[in-house]
């Protein structure tokens, strides 16, 4: 079924491949950055919303 889709992609193939290539490079760069992040930093960052300095006592206002 996918054959008909790929066959219908007309025009400048190079354009398509070039664009996909850019994305692939970009994606790999982001992935490398992710792997290099320290666990300590990640934990700090993901807890940021829960660490509002004040007003957290309001959390007890459960709906």
């Amino acid at each position: 079924m996918f054959k008909q889709f790929t066959e219908h992609i007309s025009g400048a193939q190079g354009y398509l491949l070039f664009s996909l290539g850019i994305f692939l490079v970009f994606f790999i760069v982001v992935a490398i950055l992710l792997f290099r992040l320290r666990k300590q930093h990640v934990d700090h960052m993901r807890n940021l919303p829960l660490k509002d300095s004040h007003g957290e006592s309001l959390n007890s206002y459960n709906l």
Partner: protein, 708 residues
Amino acid sequence: MQPENFYYDNKIVRNFGIATVIWGIIGMTVGLIVAIQLYSPGMNMGNQYTTFGRIRPLHTNAVIFAFVGNAIFMGVYYSLQRLLKARMFSDALSQIHFWGWQLIIVSAVITLPLGLTTSHEYAELEWPIDIAITLIWVVFGINMFGTIFKRRERHLYVAIWFYIATFVTIAVLHIVNSFELPVSAFKSYMVYAGVQDALVQWWYGHNAVAFFLTTPYLGMMYYFLPKMANRPIYSYKLSILHFWALIFIYIWAGPHHLLYTTLPGWAQSLGVAFSIMLLAPSWGGMINGLLTLRGAWDKVRDDVILKFMVVGLTAYGMATFEGPMLSLKQVNAIGHFTDWIIAHVHVGALGWNGFLTFAILYWLIPRIYKTQLYSKKMASFHFWIGTLGILFYAIPMYWAGFTQGLMLKEFTPEGILKYPAFLETTMRILPMHVMRSVGGGLYLLGVIVMAYNLCRTALQGKLVANEPAQAMPLPALSTTGHEETWHRVLERRPIQMMIAALLVILVGTFIELMPTLTISSNIPTIAAVKPYTPLELQGRDLYIREGCSNCHSQTVRPFRSETERYGEYSKAGEFVYDHPFLWGSKRTGPDLAREGGKYGNAWHYNHLMDPRLMSPGSIMPNYDWLLTQNLDTATTAAKIKAMRTLGVPYPEGYEKIANNDLSKQEKEIADNLYNDHIKVKNNKEIVALIAYLQRLGTDIKASKTAAK
């Protein structure tokens, strides 16, 4: 080091919250009215200011920029202060932002019913309002970055990156899609023409969805969902990947709105390829949100706020699965121009934007008023009636879309169209339209109940306008510290973050837009295509004023079902003088690209006066005011001049004599109508509109006749 005391500004959050609810009710009520007009044309209340073509843009602008817009600012102003441990940069800028935005909305409420429109979807507002939007957007940006600069938290949480990307991308989109040449105080012509204008518009249109309806809401999801569930986001690393991949890919997907049109094939293919890839980051975000609730699903059973979030995220997942599917050419061939698209956008708008907004309002209002929600029961009622409303809205629209899409393509065994009359397919789906308005009504009822519930909540509490907070000031960065990764460095540098986001969205923008905008061979010209006569140009502006392109497309796709029904398929060269393009995005009525010469002038006269005289059962409203209003010919010279500035080859000085040609053509049409026993004065608007309709698509026909 001593901790610093400061106050969060809750009043501005509350104000944006009130605006969200009020404009939400107004925008959805207008939506309900236009939905009813689609099966009961009398609901236009017999006057031009409340007719479908004029108030459908009012509905879309009100729900997108007024309801969702104010909700974004509410969520951003609340979360930004807390994530940065700082009050907003400037109270004065917050006020200017708030009141400026409301004034822009009010100006939309006034100008759109008056028919002052650029006709670009979701960018209909005329040039003075475009300038105001730019200024207020800059005020918002300064206020946001000012707050970021005086923050007490070194690293920017992922929600803030989404806000930064929203700010910078909307700025780029708005500016590029607002290149207009003013003709008068409230009339302008787009600088781009035809296929180029279409490409810019749908690059804008698609990314307005991406960067106004999606990225700010994802940012809010990343802040409010952890707060609501009282647990951190499932994966912070996934959120980084989600962010970069989403903003990179989204910007390319616009051309899937122009499949099978005269846009160069490679640009269409590029749009399709990136639309399919978009599924990955979209679902990454949805999964990240849903998995945040792992281990807390018992809470979902009791907490109506989390219920809203779960349905909202699920709707996001469905809409972002459907988007890539609809961008496959074979699916698009059936779905495009039908109610399927209406269903698709409303799953996103009602489910994702609506339900997230409601969840945030229910969560936030009791907190800033230091009280509890007035009625949990009412909130629960709102959830269920809202969910039911979405189902009653979406299912009939899908059904209507499939039905009409397939009927229009059906041939008899003998090879002729099974339903040659477009109207026949329209009448078949009217029951679905009735059901859809019931769904919309249920959803609106839920919002009204919410408004009451929130009012009572506010009345029983007291607004903590300035909420006290305490945080340590940011210490200076030590230069001898440990080695850091790039991304961690980026997370504390807002300007670099903004530039990085800008570069990422510009890659796709340049590769996709530039060749079509700059290489003339992408738009082959056709010698027979001539500029519009002055009367046709005036008629075209009436077509724009009445919003005809909300229901009628002007582009014939290269399918046998369309060439049989409408005539020869459209060519890029036919639209080179079309500032703006008028291809439309929905066929509530038939395509008009080859309308010229199909019927006589008298047919058009009677049809515009009362469509049901010529097409019994038609749902098109009467345009009887065109019969009585005089055409404003004082603008002709300015219009001709503006068009020449934009490259339309009117001879030098033609603007001085253009009205003579205009009068001549008016007389021809009026005389022709007189032969059919219709008495009409030459200078009535209907004459100009008939002139334009009779011109549509005739250049190609003329060239064929000449060739023979």
